[in-house]
């Protein structure tokens, strides 16, 4: 289907089989064990930072377990996109009903529930019941960033696999392979710059590379920064600078812009602010003080009800901080 002719590199170069996955060796070995006797496979929980291969491994596993027509027996859901647990229950119900007729070909259906840590504890409790009710026909693969956000009863029903962050040299190696295949000249400074911006998030890294290559066939630091600049990552930095220079109103306006027009969530923004703190030209002691302040408001953001207010309160703190430092 679409995978053969994929245009976005993240899809085009997504591994199709477990053997193609270069990292997470131990995890791959354990999963291959399940393939020998698929019925012994429990529900799975994949945890780890974004862009390090969790969904890819889940999809590979689906291919192995369910064969060529894996798509017919796989339900991909995204907890952060579904409107409430009712919708999730409804979709799973429809899926299993549809499975019943064609179970002869496959051991079970797979439900891949991505971003499951975005669900509230109540929703997870309901999910647990859904998993139980469907365990004869389906296996669940839950994917999340933080396994700690998954309630105990679900954790205890799953085999948990922690996907460690991708190593720097692995990301660079991957980028070079793609670049070579696409006839793009990725320079060392270009690769460094991508890593600087994306860390171990391979999805972001590949997207950055692809966007950069549309500007120039030689991708160096300058081109990468150009892309990142256009891609809005600069916005958070200048918002931060405005606040530290004392222009609270401008900073808050930029914050609204990020939330409303760019559609970033509060926690996405606060993480980016956190990342940017360490890029500012400030003494390390100051950086870590600010990081602590940000941590406090990240916590309040999770606990509170209104993201605008928590983020604005953080900006007000940063504004005060900036003025104290300058006086």
């Amino acid at each position: 289907m679409s995978e053969e002719s994929a245009v976005m590199w993240v899809e085009k170069y997504r591994p199709k089989t477990l053997d193609e996955v270069v990292n997470h060796k131990q995890i791959i070995e354990s999963l291959k064990g399940f393939l020998k006797n698929p019925l012994t496979m429990p529900h799975l929980l994949f945890a780890g930072p974004p862009g390090n291969g969790k969904t890819t491994v889940a999809l590979c596993l689906a291919r192995h377990l369910l064969g060529e027509n894996w798509r017919n027996y796989t339900l991909e859901l995204n907890a952060s996109d579904e409107r409430g647990i009712q919708m999730v229950r409804e979709r799973i119900k429809n899926f299993t009903r549809h499975l019943m007729g064609s179970m002869a070909n496959v051991p079970y259906g797979l439900v891949i529930l991505d971003e499951s840590d975005q669900m509230t504890a109540e929703a997870q409790t309901a999910l647990r019941r859904i998993m139980e009710a469907n365990s004869r026909t389906s296996r669940f693969i839950l994917i999340c960033n933080y396994s700690g956000k998954i309630i105990e009863p679900i954790q205890s029903r799953c085999a948990i696999f922690r996907f460690s962050p991708l190593k720097r040299e692995d990301v660079i190696g991957y980028l070079h392979r793609i670049a070579k295949n696409e006839g793009v000249n990725l320079t060392d400074s270009g690769a460094e710059a991508i890593i600087e911006q994306c860390g171990g998030d391979l999805r972001r890294a590949i997207n950055t590379l692809q966007a950069a290559s549309t500007i120039s066939k030689t991708v160096d630091k300058k081109v990468v920064l150009q892309v990142v600049g256009r891609a809005g990552a600069e916005e958070v930095r200048s918002l931060l600078e405005k606040a530290l220079k004392g222009d609270f109103l401008k900073a808050r306006e930029m914050l609204y812009e990020l939330m409303v027009t760019y559609g970033l969530s509060g926690s996405d923004i606060i993480r980016q602010i956190h990342r940017e703190i360490f890029n500012l030209n400030l003494p390390q002691k100051t950086q870590i003080e600010l990081a602590n302040l940000i941590g406090e408001y990240d916590f309040r953001l999770v606990e509170g009800a209104n993201e605008d207010i928590q983020l604005s309160a953080l900006l007000a703190q940063l504004t005060r901080f900036g003025l104290q430092k300058s006086s």
């Binding site: 899809e11 971003e115 559609g263 605008d308 928590q310």
Partner: protein
Amino acid sequence: MSTSLMWTEKYRPQTVGEIIGNDEAKKSFISWLKTWKPGVKAALLYGPPGVGKTTLVQAAAKTFSYDLIEMNASDTRTAEKIMRVAGHAASEDSLLTHFSGSRGTLILLDEVDGIYGREDQGGIGAILRLIRESKVPIVLVANDISDVRLRDLKNECLLIPFHHVRPPLLLALLKELCRREGLEAEDEALKILVNRCEGDVRSAINDLQSIAERTKHIKVEDVERLLPRDKQITVQEALKKIFLADPPSEARKALAEVNIDFELLHQAIHDNLPYQYKDPEDLASAYDALSRADLYFGRIKRTKDWGFLSYALEQMTVGVAASRKKSYYPVGYRFPPSKLILLSKSKAERELKDKICSLIAEKCHVSRRRATMDFLPFLKAIFSSNLEEAKKIASWLNLTDEMVDYLSSGKVSKAKKR
């Protein structure tokens, strides 16, 4: 309570003709009701309290023989409940219809503007569905329909505005009531009474009755002795009271006087705060109070324990006022909050963006949220620099022309906007 005790009930108009004022509104409502058939919009009657909106619906139901099902939207909150009570009546003719010679059912949803609180999740959606599917006419009643959250609802309704009842009409009504109750009243006294009520018929009648409890000869002093009615203050006045409260404990009083959802007020305080507390010290410390208030709102949301509300309210009023070290003059306060305005303005753009992200989500095995963060910015970079590449991606993702325009220019093309 026996109806004869309260004059507002005793003298509630039984026919449309007895209702005073708002002739335009009466006319449009009656003609809507008479010509209504499935598929026609619902009617939304809105305007200040005590001018006869609900009364008109009740009187019309009586006059034209409809079975009236009344639901107070702010009591019967959840979507389910609305569907259960009203959805049932809306989907089938009641047995009653066949035996009573009634023309059918008329549904009245009162206080619709009270419905969008947090517990009403789906409430407005349910009403919208009800309106679209209904086989019987539905009337909605509200005081204030300016809230952006009511926008979709307004599109599905015939809007019928009500205004304050003009003083001469109200005066004539009070004179008539005095005659019927055997009261003597000074002309001047009744005029003050009318003036005091600002076109609110219900409160005028209540005042008259409360004076009549004491005396059958109503003089100017009697009216002046009435306690000032708890006057509602505007959101702007409430903000001023909170920001400039002296001593800070006075700030809490604003809550009793303003008629607004507390979380919306919280947001309005946040919106106006930096314009009022210009000093960064004051601003940071007041924001800390707002942030704490928000933590309590979060707790209420999670635990459903409204006992935390008083802490939240305390922080957002007294907590803010107590942060003030410098002195300030009142400023022009903004309402509704700018974020809400921004949200409503950018609706077309956000919807388009959401559609793009759904397409990405489908093809690239990510959530829409991830697509927003990790794909959209890069697509924008590609679409604004390399048309050829952009075309390939567009056809792979099945993007529409409008989406392509947006990704390359960052703007939503006007022509396509519905």
